[in-house]
Symmetry: C2
Subunit: 406 residues, 2 copies
C-alpha cells in the first residue's frame, strides 16, 4: 500500500503551514541542541497517545488534560535534558509555565501549547535557561526547520529520525511529516520515546485520534529495545488543514488513505528507533502469521522481538529457532506447537513443530549481513498477522547501561 | 517462620525412605554426570507444577497425564543433555519407553515413574546410551545419593542447588529435601528450570498439590534470569509418609507447618537459581510492600527484578532509583506515583514520588558488596507484599548467549 505515497524532504515542516526550530539552551552538558518547537500557522486538530506507565511526567498529564478538552492546538515545545518526571508539584508548575511563556511569545492561548520533556528524571527543569533560549528559538522558526527540530529532541540517539510522505487524496496534495527520538537510556532514565507528527489535511478530531491510536498500535507499540517503557513516552499529531482538502470523515476512502499514510510514517520512525537501540548492530524484524487474530499475532511478535535470548543469538549470528519457538510459546497466546513453523529469511528452520535440516553456514551468513534480520513465525491456526521490531543484544548495551553512574 | 526448621544434609535423600543416584550416560559431551534417579521405597503422593509455555516437552505432558490420575508414584528419572522438546511423536514414544525401562528394572508399574529432561531442544533422546546406563544408575541408588543426583541434573549451572530441612510436627520428625537446576541457557535452549522435592510426611493428595502450587508461586515463579520460560520447566514433589506422621489434612496447624517448610525449601532453591543466573555477579532481591494485595506486589517485584535496565545498573553499581520506579510503573498495577518510596538496602532514595539526597558513594559501595542487593519499594496503598529475585546483567550474559553457535 505504501507505493501510493511519495517520500519528500522536510520532516515536520514538509506539510504546509508548519514551522519548526531547534536550539541549544544549555540543558545538555554536551552543548548540543536541546530545545525544539513546532508551530502551526493556524489552529490544528491535536491527537495524542501516551505512556501507560503509572509514573507519568508532568508533560504527559498536562497534554492529556489539554487534548481531553477537544480544542484546537498550535504548538509543541520539547526539551531534552530533564524529563521533569518525579518532580512533584514544582514540576507541574514549571511545565505549565513553559506553555504560558510560549503562548505569550507566539500570541496564542497557553492551552494551545503542548509540551514534551526527555532526559534525566527526578530533576527540575532548568527554567532560567529555557526562558532565556525561548526568544532565539522562536526567531529561528522556519518552514524548513523540521530537521533542526529533529536533532534538538534527541538524547542518547546516534542518529536523527525523521520522514515525510506526500499523497494525492481526492485531488489534493496532502503531506505528512514526523520526527522521533528513541528509547535510549544511557544516562539514568533518559527513557523516552517521543514522536511528533504534522499533517496538512483537515480531519474530524475523533477520527484523527483514532487514526493515530491505530497507527501507534501497529508501529511504536510494536518496537522494543529492552521492554522498559518510560515515564514520558508520547506521540503527538497535529493536522492543520492547509492542504485545502475538505475535512476528512470516518469511513471514506480518503480517510483510509490518510490512515495508511500515518501508519507508514509511524512504522518508518519506529523501525528507525529500533535500529538505533542502545548498542544495536542490527534491526530485528519478527513477522507472525497464521495466528487466531491480528492482536495475538502482534503480541507474539513483540515477545519474540523482546526476548534477550533471541536478541543475543542474533548478535552472535546464531540461527537459533529454538529460542524463537520458546519465546512464541510464552506470549500467553494458546496455539498448537505441533503446527509451529519458523523461518529465518528464506531458511525454513522448523516445520510441524520439529526442526528441519538447513544450511547453517548460509543461515549464519544471512544473520551476519543482517539489517534487517527477519524471523517469520507461522502458527497455521488462523489468518491473524502482525510485525514487531527490535534489535540485537550486544556487549555495548551492557556497557552503556552499566558503566554510567548517576 | 523459618527458625523452627533445622537445616540438615542429604538433599532429596534426607527424608526417610528415599534413595537417589546420578551417573554419566554420555549424553553430555563433557562426560559429566547426566542421568539422575530418585526413588521412594514405598508408594508416594505425587504433585507437580509445570511450564505454562505453549511449546511443551514430552516429559511435561507425560507427567501431567500421570499425576492427573491421582495414583501413587515412586520414581523420578531425569536426563540432562537432550530436552526432548520439539521432537514430535518419536519424542513421546521415547519418553514413555524411559518409564517402561525404569519400571521394569525397579519392579514397579511404569505409571509410577515420572520423567524429566533438560538440554538441547529439537534433538531426540539418545535412547541407547540411556538404556545402557540404567543398570548402573539403579545399582548406584543410595540413601545418601541426594547430592549425586543434584549434580547429574545440571546443564550450564555453575553450582549444584540442594537443601533439606527438618522439623518437629505433632511430635514426629519430618524431613523435606530438594534439588534444582537453573534456567541457564548457554547452549541453544538448555532452557530448563527443574526442581525435585522429597518429603517423608504423609499428606492428603489434593493438599500436597495445593501446598506445592502455593510454594512455587512464592518462589520459582518469583525468579527471573531473563524472562524466558522454557519448554521443560517443572517442579515435582513426592511425599512418602515414612516419618510415621498420620496423613496431614488441610486446615490443620501441622499442614500449615509443612506448607511453610515447602515454601522455605523452594525459596532456598529459587534464590540459588537466581544467584547462578548466566553471567550473574550478584543476587538481586526486590521487596514490594504497601500494594493493594500480595498478588500485585509479587507482579511488581517480578517486573523490577526482570528489568534489563535495573539489572545493568546493579551490575554497574549505580543506585538508580529511577529505573526501579519506572519498572514498577509498567507492571500493569495501578498506583499513585506521588506516594512511591524506594529504598536500596537502608538508603532511602525516593519518597513521596520524589528523589531524596543520599550518600551516593556509600550506596554504590553497598551495591559493590552486593549479594544480595535489596531494593524495597513501598506503594503506601495497602498491605500487600511480595518478593522477587533476579541477578544482574553482565557482559558475560551476552557473551554466553551470543558466542555459542548451534
Amino acid at each position: 500500500m505504501g507505493s501510493q505515497f511519495k517520500r519528500v524532504a522536510g520532516a515536520v515542516t514538509a506539510p504546509r503551514g508548519f514551522r519548526a526550530a531547534g536550539v541549544a539552551a544549555g540543558l545538555k552538558p554536551s552543548g548540543a541542541a536541546d530545545l525544539a518547537l513546532i508551530v502551526s500557522d493556524c489552529e490544528a486538530v491535536g491527537a495524542g497517545v501516551f505512556t501507560s506507565n503509572q509514573v507519568k511526567a508532568a508533560c504527559v498529564t498536562y497534554n492529556q488534560g489539554i487534548l481531553a478538552q477537544g480544542q484546537p492546538v498550535r504548538a509543541i515545545l520539547c526539551n531534552a535534558g530533564q524529563a521533569n518526571a518525579c518532580t512533584g508539584e514544582e514540576g507541574e508548575r514549571n511545565n505549565a509555565q513553559l506553555a504560558l511563556w510560549v503562548g505569550e511569545r507566539l500570541g496564542i492561548p497557553a492551552q494551545q501549547v503542548l509540551t514534551a520533556s526527555t532526559g534525566v528524571i527526578g530533576r527540575q527543569l532548568e527554567m532560567a535557561k529555557i526562558e532565556a533560549a525561548l526568544p532565539r528559538l522562536i526567531d529561528s522558526l522556519s518552514p524548513t526547520g523540521g530537521e533542526s527540530a529533529a536533532r534538538a529532541i534527541l538524547t542518547t540517539d546516534l542518529v536523527t529520525k525523521s520522514t515525510a510522505l506526500e499523497a494525492e487524496i481526492d485531488g489534493y496534495t496532502v503531506r505528512l511529516g514526523g520526527i522521533a527520538k528513541g528509547s535510549g537510556m544511557i544516562h539514568p532514565n533518559l527513557a523516552t520515546m517521543l514522536a511528533f507528527l504534522t499533517c496538512d489535511a483537515a480531519v474530524d478530531p475523533p477520527l484523527w485520534q483514532q487514526i493515530l491510536k491505530e497507527a501507534v498500535d501497529l508501529s511504536f507499540n510494536q518496537i522494543t529495545v529492552d521492554g522498559d517503557t518510560s515515564t514520558n513516552d508520547m506521540v503527538l499529531a497535529l493536522a492543520n488543514g492547509q492542504s485545502g482538502i475538505p475535512t476528512l470523515q470516518a469511513g471514506t476512502r480518503a480517510a483510509q488513505a490518510l490512515a495508511e499514510m500515518v501508519v507508514q510514517v509511524c512504522i518508518h520512525l519506529a523501525k528507525a528507533i529500533a535500529r538505533d537501540g542502545e548498542g544495536a548492530t542490527k534491526l530485528l524484524q519478527i513477522r507472525v502469521q497464521g495466528a487466531p487474530d491480528d492482536r495475538s499475532a502482534r503480541q507474539i511478535a513483540r515477545v519474540i522481538a523482546g526476548s534477550p535470548l533471541v536478541k543475543a543469538a542474533v548478535f552472535g549470528n546464531d540461527p537459533n529457532w529454538g529460542r524463537v519457538a520458546a519465546a512464541a510459546g510464552r506470549a500467553g497466546i494458546p496455539f498448537d506447537s505441533r503446527r509451529l513453523e519458523v523461518r529465518l529469511g528464506d531458511f525454513l528452520l522448523l516445520q510441524g513443530g520439529m526442526p528441519l535440516a538447513f544450511d547453517r553456514q548460509a543461515a549464519s551468513e544471512y544473520l551476519k549481513r543482517g539489517d534487517p534480520v527477519t524471523f517469520t513465525v507461522d502458527l497455521h491456526q488462523g489468518s491473524g498477522q502482525g510485525v514487531a521490531w527490535g534489535c540485537d543484544l550486544s556487549y555495548d548495551y551492557v556497557r552503556i547501561n552499566a558503566e554510567y553512574t548517576t
